[in-house]
């Protein structure tokens, strides 16, 4: 599985400007609803908010992976958003977050979900990749970084 196969240029947003956890999750839900119109924006937002209530998806080093399991999702979809300035996200290391790799995944398939998580972890563990994500100035540049894998 490749990260680029889970996303598209329309799902990659560079240099967005938000200042709160709630606002960035709303933005993700709007973006996801545009790509998956059969899922309501409110249902997507609720799935993301409910997951954050169980514990922040801020996994450290300025990265968060907000996600929602939704029975209406046909396959895993990733939305990659880089914020112009880092947002307080209650992350594990208390560092504010500027890289968001959001996931809408089908409910039920545990193996597929673990595979999806390892696919994104494999890219995000590379500090140079994160640096390139942060440097991207346009959505197109951001998606080029994501798509440039061996």
């Amino acid at each position: 599985m490749k990260l680029s196969s889970l996303t598209s240029q329309d799902c990659s947003k560079a240099a967005v400007l938000f200042n709160s956890k709630k606002r960035i999750l709303e933005f993700i839900s709007e973006l996801a609803h545009e790509q998956l119109p059969h899922l309501s924006q409110q249902d997507i937002l609720n799935a993301l908010l409910n997951r954050e209530k169980l514990g922040s998806t801020g996994i450290g080093r300025g990265i968060a992976i907000p996600h929602g399991r939704m029975s209406g999702a046909d396959k895993p979809h990733a939305f990659i958003i880089v914020s112009e300035s880092p947002i307080n996200f209650d992350a594990i290391d208390n560092r504010p977050v500027d890289i968001f790799v959001a996931l809408i995944v089908p409910d039920g398939d545990c193996q597929l979900h673990l595979k999806t998580l390892s696919t994104i972890a494999d890219r995000l563990k590379d500090k140079e990749f994160c640096k390139q994500l942060r440097s991207a100035k346009t959505d197109q540049e951001l998606f080029q970084v994501i798509a440039s894998e061996a």
Binding site: G55, I59, I92, C110, H113, L114, L117, S118, A121, K125
Partner: protein
Amino acid sequence: MYAENTFLIQNKLGLHARAATVLAQLALQFDAKIMLYQDDKEAEGDSVLALMLLESSQGKEVRVVCEGPDATAALNAIGELIAQRFHEQE
């Protein structure tokens, strides 16, 4: 101090993001270097990204190796967390 043991992943969802985060938060509390091994993969216990790379699913055996002053306490705590299915229902 050195301590190691092998634990069976019992929760239905395996080492998904939330379970990995809970484990990493626990690992950070101890003065010990904590490594997890599964099949041919290894991960630092305090790194959520590394733990997610293990793709540990229900039924997998994970070897936990702890080194440092808190090695035994860390191993016991991690073993208990895994046995309690990361506080998940199933």
